[in-house]
Amino acid sequence: LRLIKKGQDILKKPPVSDEQIIRSLLDREAQAMSLLYDKYAAALFGVVMRVVNSTEIAEEVLQDVFVKAWRNIDSYNAAKGRLFTWLLNIARNAAIDATRSKNFNRQNQSIETIVDIAAHDSTSPNPETIGLKKLTEQLPPEQQTLVDYIYFKGYTQSETAEALNIPLGTVKTRLRAAMQNLKSLF
């Protein structure tokens, strides 16, 4: 019983701050990568999975992302954005690169597939995110798709407009609306 309590304590332990992780990374501390991984690996893996749609390739990409983060942490500028945004950019580019590589077996990445992945809970979820997931499901599907395309799959405005069959001029305003909606959910 005490063990279970201890386990719950570990699960509930407050996340390490980005500042702490960045300082640790810059100091080349052994625990730095472990902290970074624990905080962001799953979120980034979810993003990469949306692009490559293969666990094997997504794990290769994620490995590449963390190696790049470790080597290029010097180039991260906290004044220009959050650590996650920086990591997301690395992950998105790495995932897109992977889809362009010769070995990548282009799979059907229809909107249905993406929605499937988004709805599919592949592993035991972090109890804290169950609530968040429900909130996410409140975001209209078309807004989810828009956010996925722009932020996770690296679509340009015109590519997004074409894929969603909407006028180019409305991509920006719809994205703004989707993000405002997200902000209200969290």
């Binding site: 666990t55 490995q63 592949s122 956010v147 703004r176 997200l182």
Partner: protein, 252 residues
């Protein structure tokens, strides 16, 4: 564009997605630096995005973390050695090649050194040979010379079969000696040539040669006769008459 218009334009959302052209991105960054509201708006977008991504997180394989940590422990490739293995094997090849080349050159060096020594020995031998030939030619010249007298020294009772010829030039006074037959000497003894001048013996030199060769002796201005005696090694000032082996007189 006012701050409010910028925030509501949707450009900040595109900025976070890295979809703005460079000039517009720079404008957003400048505005963010100048206006806390812009900074806050961008931070809100990023936080929403992060929360959205966390909400849809998927756990990768349990061992991925260890694989990544192990991967980071392997040394980073430097851009200068894009093909380290190839570079290393090239380097190794070069080292081995240089090793073989060095060994080959060293071998060549010693072989050459040996050849040079051999050639120099041959050269010395050749010079000696030339000198011998020149000496012999000179000896022959003297022997054939019109003023050279050949005096036959014949065996005395001590060695009746002994025979020696002395060639004495009466113009340049050079003296040569050719052994036809002389008995072997006891140990510690040496033959010595004497010239008899006005009945007195004059030392004409020690014999250092074997039979069938010609030896140059001391030059003599005058001689009535020649004789060879057995003397202790190194010669004597006076001849041991009892040990006289051969004798020959110079005919007038």
């Amino acid at each position: 564009l006012t701050i409010r218009e910028l925030i509501e334009s949707g450009n900040l959302e595109l900025y976070v997605a890295q979809l703005l052209p460079a000039d517009e991105a720079a404008a957003v960054e400048a505005a963010a630096l100048a206006h806390p509201e812009v900074r806050a708006a961008i931070a809100e977008i990023e936080q929403s995005l992060e929360a959205y991504a966390q909400a849809q997180a998927i756990q990768p394989s349990a061992d991925l973390k260890n694989r990544i940590l192990e991967d980071l422990n392997t040394p980073e490739p430097s851009p200068n050695t894009a093909y380290p293995k190839r570079g290393q094997s090239l380097l190794m090849g070069l080292v081995v090649g240089l090793g073989f080349l060095s060994a080959f050159l060293l071998y060549q060096y010693f072989a050459l050194q040996k050849n040079i020594e051999k050639a120099e020995a041959e050269k010395r031998a050749l010079i000696d040979c030339q000198k011998s030939v020149a000496d012999l030619k000179h000896t022959l010249d003297i022997i054939r010379h019109g003023a050279t007298r050949a005096i036959a020294l014949n065996g005395l009772p001590l060695a009746p079969d002994a025979k020696v010829t002395v060639y004495w030039n009466t113009e340049v006074y050079e003296t040569y000696l050719a052994i036809q037959n002389l008995p072997p000497l006891p140990k510690g003894k040496q033959y010595q040539l004497w010239a008899i001048v006005n009945t007195k013996p004059v030392d004409a030199g020690l014999l250092t040669i074997e039979a069938d060769t010609i030896q140059a002796m001391k030059p003599l201005e005058k001689a009535d006769a020649f004789a060879i005696t057995i003397e202790p090694e190194g010669g004597s000032a006076e001849p041991s008459i009892a040990q006289m082996i051969v004798l020959g007189t110079v005919t007038k």
